[in-house]
Symmetry: C2
Subunit: 203 residues, 2 copies
DNA sequence: GAACATACGTACCGATCGGTAACACTGTCA
DNA sequence: TGACAGTGTTACCGATCGGTACGTATGTTC
């Protein structure tokens, strides 16, 4: 019971910086980073512009923070799709893909915030791009690991192939509802089976 | 020989509108549409702003024109990859994918201008988006036709699967050089063979 | 040469962009 | 009580944004 320097036991009213992160996250994801002005962000957050610039050196750095948050929230969705563990690599990947396939054919879907950022900012020196590139590099590595666990003859081909399918679903999902992402589960199953020597399922 | 009202038989010095189309095309593709201002475009084209607005009602319409040009130039690359005809659907698609795989792992690659535009403009009412969505719809349809020609058991799955691989290569190719697009040819071959009942190649 | 249409340039518009200076207010902690 | 950190308020900055009013050069047609 020493409450040394804890401010309060209840939630201490969200800090301005947090409110900004939340509203930036929503607006950046839905409308794109370049399309959203800092005034929009602070208005939605119910704070003022100086508060933004006290917490973030620039809009570019806020964008990088948004992508860091996005990256952090991505991994649980990927490693424990549906909020639970799966018995093996194949089941885990297919569970993630099943959920992605459902999300990505719905109206209003906006794909992956990190991939979208690399489209908006081709310049490799942009702070937001560094976050996105690092994320994609890690995802690629992880998919190759999972492909190896599945017993792929060439884990690079299966890992990369799955990554292409994922990214394809991210981007086509935001082009129009009911797009080719509806077939990602079947395609991924077929690809995995063919790369791991399973008897070809009649498809 | 009635040259009724033909201006001149020789090339009459490129019109301002054409110069604008060319420079807009280069800048929009390399840097993104939102990132490029109209001043940049007219400077590069060596013309002035009113010339732009005499030829195009707005920047948005210029963006739509850029995408129309992009769409028109895409189809020959897709239907006759390498500048020549191919014996069957499988060979044609794989030839396109082979070329794509080479381009998409190089430094400076910027993916598909039409896909990039849908990322930059989520609003379905934007004039540029209409062009991009129509293109993607046509490509999807064409890939399903080609999948059927290949003898796929379910042409929708193979067509959509190939489209996901293509789009995946477009977007990952611009994230960093040497990305997963390097495996697109192997992945596509595997997927096609598995979907058409070919004996699984050792991969 | 007069009349006209086409094409282009100079100069400018209001709005919005990202970002900042200066100061008042509030609550916490010592 | 006083110091301090965090926030809000107001007003502002220069740069750039997309877009336009208006005059000028050129060539064709009679």
């Amino acid at each position: 019971m020493s409450r040394i320097s804890k401010p309060r036991d209840a939630a201490p009213a969200p800090r301005a910086a947090d409110r900004i992160r939340v509203s930036a996250r929503e607006l950046f994801y839905r409308e794109g980073i370049r399309a959203v002005g800092v005034d929009q962000i602070v208005n939605r957050a119910g704070v003022t512009k100086p508060s933004l610039y006290r917490a973030f050196p620039s809009k570019d750095d806020l964008a990088a923070a948004y992508l860091s948050d996005y990256d952090r929230e991505f991994w649980p969705r990927f490693e424990k799709p549906g909020g639970r563990r799966w018995p093996d690599a194949r089941a885990q990947v297919l569970a993630y893909i099943r959920e992605l396939g459902k999300r990505a054919v719905q109206d209003g879907y906006r794909g992956c915030g990190l991939s979208n950022a690399t489209v908006e900012y081709p310049d490799h020196t942009h702070p937001a791009r560094g976050v996105a590139e690092a994320h994609k590099k890690a995802l690629r590595k992880r998919l190759r690991e999972l492909a190896a666990e599945m017993g792929a003859r060439d884990p690079r081909v299966l890992g990369d192939g799955l990554m292409l399918l994922l990214e394809g679903a991210y981007v086509t999902g935001q082009q129009s509802p009911g797009g080719p992402a509806q077939s990602i589960l079947a395609a991924a199953e077929t690809l995995i089976d063919a790369c791991t020597g399973k008897p070809a399922r009649r498809r």
